[in-house]
């Protein structure tokens, strides 16, 4: 779709609201919903990746140093990673932004 989302009219929609451009959910900033954000104490991290496995948004990936961090564009702040981390690396802090 060529127009910005908030300029789309009902005439711009495909039949039944079908989305014919694959992968455009990636443009959707679900991080907007967040009221808490994960903070990390990497000195305790054993790089097990459990947080990434549990993340329902699949938005946790490895950074250059091999630590696992959430992509805040998508992270909804649910806190499952903090709850599941076996070595208490992650804590949830209030999202100020």
């Amino acid at each position: 779709m060529s127009k910005p989302d908030n300029e789309l009219t009902w005439r711009d929609l495909e039949i039944g609201g079908i989305v014919s451009t694959p992968g455009n959910t990636r443009l959707y900033r679900s991080g907007d919903w967040r009221s808490q954000k994960p903070e990390y104490e990497f000195s305790r991290c054993i790089k097990c990746g459990l947080c990434a496995l549990y993340c329902p948004e699949a938005c946790i990936g490895k950074n250059d140093e091999g630590y696992f961090t959430a992509d805040l564009f998508y992270c909804k702040g649910c806190g499952i990673c903090a709850r599941e981390c076996p070595v208490y690396v992650i804590s949830m802090a209030e999202e100020a932004e």
Binding site: L13, I15, G17, I18, S20
Partner: protein, 391 residues
């Protein structure tokens, strides 16, 4: 042209679905619709219809399977009734919003409790706002003809909407009637192959039934509403084409002996035929009475209805369902809304009758008409009256 045959209406509908060469039937049996899907299962099992028959575990699953089938571009049919229609309720909205051309026969039945397998319109009235095209039929021939028409309406590129063909449970579904059946070849000439424009296809991936945040939901609903309203012209065109091909013509609003009638009766469904005999009898007695029948319930034929009742003094609407704690009859409520803005409109009297399979006889309609003339236009008549209840 096929032969005029004595046949149960349900079986005739199944034969029409087979003549339309349906690709997929996903259904769960429920009285009084059972014979329709049972016979289709036979036709598929016997190799007389080359289709997938999906026996599902509930009506919710039946309609869900129909979504997938129609999305894949298959010509899709199902049937249900009463509780079954309610169990598939949420999926009905999905079918219309996703613009999937599914055809469904609904053998209208009262909804529990108390348990009743017999006919009335409480099932469909609870599914009034699901965004489907909704047609009501009065006899077996109409049910069969409209099943054929429904595929053509549903699959038309400008429509792409699911269509319900309503027939009164037992009063129609289980009757053996003389019906002019179809040759498969003539139906296939009338009905072009289904060509769904954006079917599920691994070569061209699409996402259907997506999520819509507030910034786009209103636009999605308005697109759906415009589409359903615009389907009206195609519905008329399909009925016209059907008439030209088979000689039987259908209209959104049908009338019977309305010329100069001061009082009009308005009905929907199979009891319209009994109502005609009441009109005949009253006309013979010199009364100025006619009958208007609604065939198309959604999209609602506002203009045709206004035209049909224009000039009458009294309009007596008989509903076969009750909107509890509300205006009484759903049809009367719609009719009153359609007429509200008219300067010259008949006084409307609303009756609820024929619930849970109770017959309304010719004499019954005569009583309703007499009472209707008495109360129409009198402010003290209340929202509606129920006919035939024992005090």
């Amino acid at each position: 042209m096929g032969e005029r045959t004595g046949i149960e209406v349900s079986i005739a509908i199944s034969e029409a679905v087979a003549a339309a060469d349906a690709d997929v039937i996903a259904a769960y049996p429920i009285t009084p619709q059972t014979h329709i899907v049972e016979h289709l299962a036979d036709l598929v099992a016997n190799g007389e219809l080359d289709a997938e028959y999906i026996p599902v575990e509930s009506e919710h699953s039946a309609m869900s399977a129909c979504l997938g089938s129609a999305a894949a571009g298959a010509r899709t049919f199902t049937a249900t009734a009463g509780q079954g229609l309610e169990l598939m309720h949420e999926v009905l909205f999905v079918a219309s919003a996703m613009r999937l051309p599914i055809v469904m026969a609904v053998a209208n039945r009262a909804v529990s409790s108390p348990l009743s397998v017999w006919g009335d319109h409480s099932d469909i009235m609870a599914a009034r706002d699901v965004g489907w095209i909704q047609i009501f039929t009065e006899n077996g021939q109409e049910a069969v003809d409209n099943t054929i028409c429904a595929f053509k309406m549903a699959e038309d590129k400008s429509v792409l909407l699911p269509v319900m063909v309503n027939l009164d449970g037992f009063h129609l579904s289980h009757m053996i009637e003389p019906i002019i059946m179809f040759e498969r070849d003539e139906v296939r000439r009338f009905l072009p192959p289904n060509d769904y424009p954006l079917p599920l296809d691994p070569e061209k991936p699409v996402a259907m039934g997506d999520f819509a945040p507030p910034f786009i939901f209103t636009e999605a609903k308005w697109a759906q509403e415009v589409n359903l309203r615009n389907s009206y012209e195609t519905i008329l065109r399909v009925w016209r084409e059907f008439g030209e091909e088979f000689g039987r013509y259908y209209n959104p609003v049908e009338s019977y002996r309305i010329e100069g009638a001061r009082t009009l009766l308005l009905t929907m469904g199979s009891f319209s035929e009994t109502a005609m005999t009441a009109v005949d009898s009253l006309r013979e007695q010199g009364q100025s009475v006619g009958l208007v029948r609604l065939r198309l319930w959604r999209p609602f034929p506002f203009e045709e209805l206004r035209k049909a009742v224009k000039g009458a003094d009294n309009l007596i609407v008989v509903d076969r369902a009750i909107s509890l704690g509300g205006p009484g009859g759903p049809v009367a409520s719609e009719v009153k809304a359609a007429l509200y803005g008219e300067a010259d409109r008949p006084a409307v009297a609303s009756f609820v009758a024929g619930l849970g399979g109770r017959d309304i006889t010719r004499q019954g309609f005569e009583e309703i008409i007499a009472r209707g003339i008495e109360i129409a236009g009198k402010g003290g008549a209340g929202e509606y009256e129920i006919y035939g209840v024992r005090e």
